[in-house]
């Protein structure tokens, strides 16, 4: 398949884009990169196949048949789990490390009582890991060794997975540290931070640790934690996270009900006297953050009671964590983390949707099913068993939080920081995943657990807020003071839900999903200041469109006299205007300016910019919208207004007219049975479609007797008009000769006659030749070619010595079949695909443009590229079919670089004509005949075994080159598109 040396080189190049850390880790393990072996058909001896089965084997075979679609899935899941779970030897090392930490912690010296704001006892090398805004706060702090130390979380439950092994240790602060009013005004949080700062100060001198760092728990800046890593080669292995938590029973839970206030406005705004009479707003998020700490231990006990005698839970949670990680849902503020997933499993167990007998795969399925069908932002759930009247009700939680999932104590909302949009994204992903699991045509394992879904490749349009500090003014504009207080001054967290709901309303109908990236803060060294809110970099939003409505230019509102009309008007601002519609009603409406298809695709951008400016005071300059950056490369012509999609439609219209005229042509001895286009412009995938041209007469010499315009040598060269090839099938008849030379003559005669008739009946300028006729119509040149369906067969005929007639492929017949059979079929299928997915053509054109820019267009057929792109639209799992050329192109590059061309065929199920069984058959035959098949194998319903478009090209070397180029291109492009600050230059193409 490929030279060993080359394969090794390619692997090294492909390693390049990954993080250096991983590359190094891999590099050590892999000593000699051997060329990967190819699949061989399995050969089992007869004796082995038919030996009497043991009962155990029978059971196993039966089980895999019943529970999983195939044994492959079972084996794959087992392998994956083996890959991600922690090994026993490593566990021992971690345990030893934990013991040492334990002994060190109890030996930390006390410090005497001081005011909280007096932090002089802290050495210079350690900064308080807390944004102390406002700085002044009452209260005293002293350090006492922890009352209790316990390991909590996934490590004990055995559900922690690689690559980031975190061991959570809860450090209980003794009761003596606290004072009565510590629940107020972040006093508890400050003490917690100081406590950790002191521990960090002592630990920074210890030799045991490779690094001592601070981080925010789930990027929540009220909750700093201390990260400890062992010294030496295990540094990457584990991070021990110290959480400080209050002494049990110190805080009264009733003070922290979601409706209570614990942050005073006067303190927050640093006013000396509280305003009289104004009620204090509730601070649910603040309350929740304190309660979380008090519940650390009880949550652990709850989960460990759930996970006893339940081996499937461990596997299931590990799988779900991988699933979340691949979708970038498990990190950042308001993430759906592993702890939450374990709680969901526990909930389903109490509701008896899951039983302890279930395997990991079944747990995965049930949890996904539950997530897909339940909307926690509308109907929250609670783990609390008995309904205590004094506890807050679910409705109270719904009032305070967007997503509600109450813990067993009935006090804590586990999803407090999550936005409704994030939960909807989780729900959407779960729904999509269930569809994939039920679809037998898709490799569910690959799509669900092995494919990562970065935002750029998932969403059709992506835009960045370059400077999140602009959200401060947004908070002011939207009057979010109480939310700011609640979030402890974190304006990003305060404004995000409002901005997302604003966008969701503005894009309702157009967008299936409006999602945002989770704000993440990196860990920092203990001698550095804690990161500010603006340090989370840029915030990214992703839009997933409904292809039918995304580009509509009109936003129709309520009737002018309705009460909702004012609401509509305030929402859209000046853009809203009264319009009379065809049915006579007068409605409020917003009309967006867009003349071409590519501009229409950018209407969402106009909406986003307008709404953010109007309601959140975010200037257009700080929004970086990456929706159509790539489209400039397929613009043609001098004015470069459109991206040529309109031109393509004109071509197709003209062609349709011509084909109708051909059908109705009178005076032909045989009737026309089919007219089929074969030119790429007729399936909307020509990079630069032909533009109508009129000859400029002064540039030509007229030759009268032949009715010919000959270009003149002295004048400028006339414009080139690419001929559009059309195949015209004639009716079969006994009058067709059965000899190939004679057929050629008859076809030439037909060409002559067609030209004459077209000229007579429709006044087209025609120029017949032996193999075709050129018809000049509407400024285009159509190259018409007559075909007879039996001609390829006649070319194939061979008479054996016994007088038997045999059909054998010859060079000539193959060429003819390609031209008159396969290409027209492909054309009509892809034409249909374009009708379903309007951006198919543009994606194809981008892909072809890329191939040409890499100077490889001679080595890969256009049809092959078309089919590759078609597969993205027909088999998008785990994504949705692309609705913008950019995302389609990114996925094209990704497909090219990650598909396993050596061991699997790419099946493009055009028109869904292939059944499940046929796909399996194709795969099996492919494995059996691998060595004889082309390096790139693409099967379609009309061409299952031959892969006609990749027979000759690309060669193994070219394919290898193409893959390397694709993986490099996708890396560069994604970097450019994800980085809003640098100027974007899409120079890959």
């Amino acid at each position: 398949f490929k030279e060993p040396a080359e394969a090794a080189e390619a692997e090294e190049v492909e390693e390049g884009p990954q993080t250096p850390q991983r590359g190094a880790a891999r590099g050590r393990k892999r000593k000699a990169p051997a060329p990967a072996p190819a699949l061989q058909p399995v050969k089992l001896s007869r004796a082995e196949l038919y030996k009497p089965p043991t009962s155990e084997e029978l059971n196993q075979l039966k089980e895999t048949e019943d529970l999983f679609h195939s044994s492959l899935l079972r084996l794959q899941i087992e392998e994956l789990l083996r890959e991600v779970t922690l090994k026993e030897t490593k566990k021992k090392k971690i345990d030893a490390f934990l013991h040492e930490i334990n002994s060190l912690l109890s030996a930390i010296p006390e410090i005497p009582e001081t005011d909280i704001i007096d932090q002089t006892w802290l050495s210079r090398g350690v900064k308080v890991p807390f944004l102390q805004v406002p700085f002044n706060v009452k209260g005293k702090f002293r350090f006492l060794p922890p009352a209790e130390l316990s390991v909590v979380g996934s490590y004990l439950l055995g559900t922690c997975i690689k690559p980031e092994i975190n061991v959570d240790v809860a450090v209980t602060m003794p009761r003596e540290i606290f004072q009565d009013k510590d629940n107020l005004n972040q006093r508890y949080h400050r003490k917690r931070a100081l406590y950790l700062a002191h521990i960090a100060q002592c630990f920074s001198k210890e030799n045991l640790f490779g690094s001592v760092k601070f981080a925010y728990m789930n990027s929540n800046h009220l909750k700093p934690i201390l990260l400890l890593r062992p010294r030496g080669k295990d540094e990457k292995l584990v991070a021990v996270r110290l959480h400080a938590c209050p002494a049990p029973g110190f805080f009264k839970p009733s003070r922290f009900y979601p409706s209570k206030n614990n942050v005073r406005t006067a303190w927050f705004l640093e006013q000396s006297t509280p305003k009289e009479g104004a009620p204090e707003p509730p601070t649910p998020h603040y309350n929740n953050s304190v309660l979380c700490d008090t519940m650390l231990l009880s949550h652990l006990h709850f989960l460990s009671s759930v996970s006893t005698d339940f081996p499937g839970m461990k596997d299931g949670v590990a799988l779900l964590k991988v699933w979340l990680n691949q979708r970038q849902l498990s990190k950042g503020l308001g993430c759906f983390n592993g702890f939450l997933i374990s709680m969901v499993v526990a909930y389903l167990l109490t509701k008896r949707k899951i039983v302890k007998m279930m395997s990991g795969y079944q747990v995965l399925r049930n949890v996904l099913q539950f997530l897909a069908t339940t909307d926690l932002s509308v109907t929250g759930i609670s783990l609390a068993k008995d309904t205590d009247a004094s506890l807050p009700a679910l409705a109270d939680f719904h009032q305070a939080f967007e997503v509600v999932f109450v813990d067993p104590s009935g006090l804590v909302n586990l999803c407090a920081d999550m936005t409704a949009s994030k939960y909807h994204q989780v729900q959407f992903e779960a729904k999509r995943s269930m569809e994939i699991l039920d679809d037998r045509m898709v490799d569910g394992f690959q799509a669900l657990l092995m494919t990562s879904k970065p935002m750029l490749r998932t969403f059709d349009h992506v835009f960045h807020l370059k400077h999140v500090s602009k959200l401060q003014s947004a908070c002011r504009k939207m009057q979010l003071l109480s939310e700011l207080m609640d979030q402890g001054g974190n304006y990003v967290a305060a404004a995000l839900p409002f901005i997302v709901s604003l966008l969701t309303r503005g894009l309702a109908g157009r967008a299936l999903l409006v999602a945002h990236s989770l704000p993440q803060t990196p860990e920092w060294l203990i001698d550095a200041e804690p990161p500010k809110h603006k340090d989370i970099g840029s915030l990214t939003f992703g839009l997933l469109f409904v292809p039918e409505f995304a580009a509509s230019a009109l936003e129709k509102g309520p009737q002018a006299d309705c009460p909702e009309a004012t609401d509509f008007r305030t929402f859209w601002g000046e853009k809203s205007e009264l319009r009379r519609f065809q049915d006579g009603t007068i409605c409020e409406a917003v009309v967006w300016q867009a003349s071409t298809v590519c501009q229409k695709r950018l209407i969402p951008e106009q909406i986003v910019r307008h709404l953010l400016k109007l309601h959140a005071d975010i200037p257009e300059s700080s929004i970086c919208y990456t929706g159509a950056l790539l489209e400039s490369v397929i613009k043609s012509g001098k004015e470069a207004l459109g991206t040529g999609e309109e031109d393509m439609v004109n071509v197709v219209c003209s062609y349709d007219d011509l084909s109708r005229k051909l059908w109705n042509l009178e005076g032909l001895p045989l009737t026309v049975t089919a007219v089929q286009g074969v030119h790429p412009a007729l399936r909307y995938t020509d990079v630069f479609p032909p533009i109508p041209m009129k000859p400029i007469y002064s540039f030509h010499n007229q030759i009268k007797n032949k009715q010919l315009l000959l270009p003149s040598e002295q004048k400028p060269c006339p414009a080139y008009i690419a001929p559009l090839k059309i195949i015209c099938h004639m009716e079969g008849s006994g009058r067709w000769p059965q000899d190939k030379e004679a057929i050629k003559r008859i076809k030439a005669a037909f060409h002559l006659q067609l030209a004459e008739l077209l000229q007579q009946q429709h006044q087209f300028i025609c120029r017949p030749a032996v193999t075709h006729i050129d018809v000049y119509k509407d400024g285009y040149v159509f190259r018409l070619q007559v075909a007879y369906h039996r001609e390829p067969l006649i070319l194939k005929e061979v008479v054996t010595p016994e007088g038997m007639l045999k059909y054998q492929d010859t060079e000539e017949s193959k060429q003819l079949e390609l031209e008159t059979l396969h290409r027209p079929n492909l054309n009509s299928s892809l034409h249909g695909l374009q009708q379903q997915h309007p951006v198919f053509g543009s994606t194809c054109r981008l892909a072809k443009r890329w191939v040409r820019a890499q100077l490889l267009s001679d080595n890969i057929s256009e049809e092959c590229v078309d089919l590759l792109v078609a597969s993205l639209f027909l088999h998008p799992a785990p994504f949705m079919p692309p609705s913008s050329p950019q995302v389609g192109f990114l996925r094209f590059l990704n497909l090219l670089s990650t598909f396993d061309w050596k061991n699997s065929p790419l099946i493009v199920n055009l028109n869904a004509d292939l059944t499940d069984a046929e796909c399996t058959e194709i795969k099996n035959k492919f494995v059996a005949a691998r060595s004889r098949l082309p390096v790139m194998f693409i099967a379609t319903p009309k061409d299952k075994w031959n892969s006609v478009w990749t027979q000759e090209r690309p060669s193994a070397q070219i394919l290898q080159r193409l893959l390397v180029l694709a993986s490099e291109s996708v890396r560069t492009l994604e970097e450019q598109l994800m980085d809003p600050l640098s100027n974007q230059d899409v120079k890959v193409v």
């Binding site: 891999r26 990967a36 072996p37 699949l39 061989q40 399995v42 089992l44 196949l49 038919y50 089965p53 029978l58 075979l61 895999t64 048949e65 195939s70 044994s71 492959l72 084996l75 794959q76 392998e79 994956l80 083996r82 890959e83 991600v84 690559p163 991988v322 990680n325 691949q326 657990l449 092995m450 990562s452 030759i703 032949k706 010919l708 000959l710 270009p711 040598e713 060269c717 000769p737 000899d739 030379e741 004679a742 050629k744 003559r745 008859i746 030439a748 005669a749 002559l752 030209a755 120029r767 017949p768 030749a769 032996v770 007088g803 038997m804 007639l805 045999k806 059909y807 396993d900 061991n903």
Partner: protein, 282 residues
């Protein structure tokens, strides 16, 4: 100034050395302005199998390495100084076929060869061949001269375009003539077949054709396969599958074997994927 000349001399020597045995190198140049010449390799035409009438061995010069811009007209002009040239045949491969006989059709010819070709130059007198070989002593010959320029660039394209436009009447006439011949041929064959039908040959065999009262099966591979398939299906319909106990046992065994085989296949696939590190999710 001396060194380029020395180099050129060296290059000439190299060219001379590269000539295969039996051939003589003739230097030609496209025009007067070109510096370095191109070599035509010429040889007296000799074939073992009897004297062909198109390329008589004594009078024919075999030319290798004919550049694409050098057509039959240019060649005949080049060699006309050695004696009157009778015909020039240019083809992409050496061999007797292809160019033999008068050209059958103006329109229905195969693809014109591209790139470097070979040519047969037939002189009227044998002396021409020797004279042509002697040309190697002279300086490079010019292919494109002022009196007969070879068209290049735009003018070449224009000429080619003008050439590509076919004369409709001529084409029609040719097609009609061919089809008349063809029809005549077919009619003759049919008449012959009709005459032979049902008439036994000298051993008494009667030829069965598709025509006549009892048409036989067509003798094609597809038809044969179809017959075999039909036979098979007929047999399968007659057979009882669940009659004997051993049949029942057999199907069960077969099922388990199938499962096992699939399991083995999957295992192999997994092993391969593991080798490729396919199970690292990120």
């Amino acid at each position: 100034a001396a060194s380029p000349r020395a180099k050129m001399a060296a290059a000439e020597q190299r060219a001379a050395r590269a000539v295969p045995p039996g051939y003589t190198a003739l230097e030609v140049k496209f025009g007067a302005r070109q510096r370095s010449p191109h070599c035509l390799l010429v040889k007296e035409h000799r074939v073992r199998e009897g004297p062909g009438d198109t390329h008589p061995p004594q009078r024919t010069l075999f030319v290798l390495n004919v550049p694409p811009y050098c057509g039959p007209d240019e060649l005949s002009r080049l060699f006309s100084r050695c004696g009157a040239v009778q015909t020039v045949d240019v083809s992409d491969k050496p061999g007797p076929g292809g160019t033999a006989g008068p050209r059958s059709s103006k329109f229905f010819t195969g693809k014109a060869a591209t790139g470097f070709r070979v040519a047969y130059v037939v002189f009227r007198k044998p002396a021409g061949v020797q004279a042509a070989k002697a040309l190697s002593q002279e300086g490079p010959l010019l292919i494109s001269t002022e009196s007969h320029p070879v068209k290049t660039g735009v003018s070449k394209w224009i000429a080619r375009y003008a050439e590509s436009v076919v004369n409709q009447e001529e084409l029609k006439a040719e097609v009609d003539a061919f089809m008349q011949d063809y029809d005549k041929k077919i009619a003759e064959e049919e008449a012959k077949a009709a005459k032979e039908e049902g008439v036994p040959d000298e051993e008494g065999w009667v030829k069965v054709t598709r025509k006549g009262r009892k048409p036989g099966l067509p003798r094609t591979e597809a038809a044969n396969l179809r017959v075999l398939e039909r036979e098979k299906r007929k047999r399968a319909r007659k057979e009882l599958l669940n009659f004997y106990a051993w049949q029942h046992r057999e199907t069960k065994r077969e099922h388990i074997a199938q499962l096992r085989k699939k399991f083995e296949e999957d295992k192999q696939r997994i092993a391969l994927m593991r080798a490729q590190r396919k199970f690292r999710p990120y």
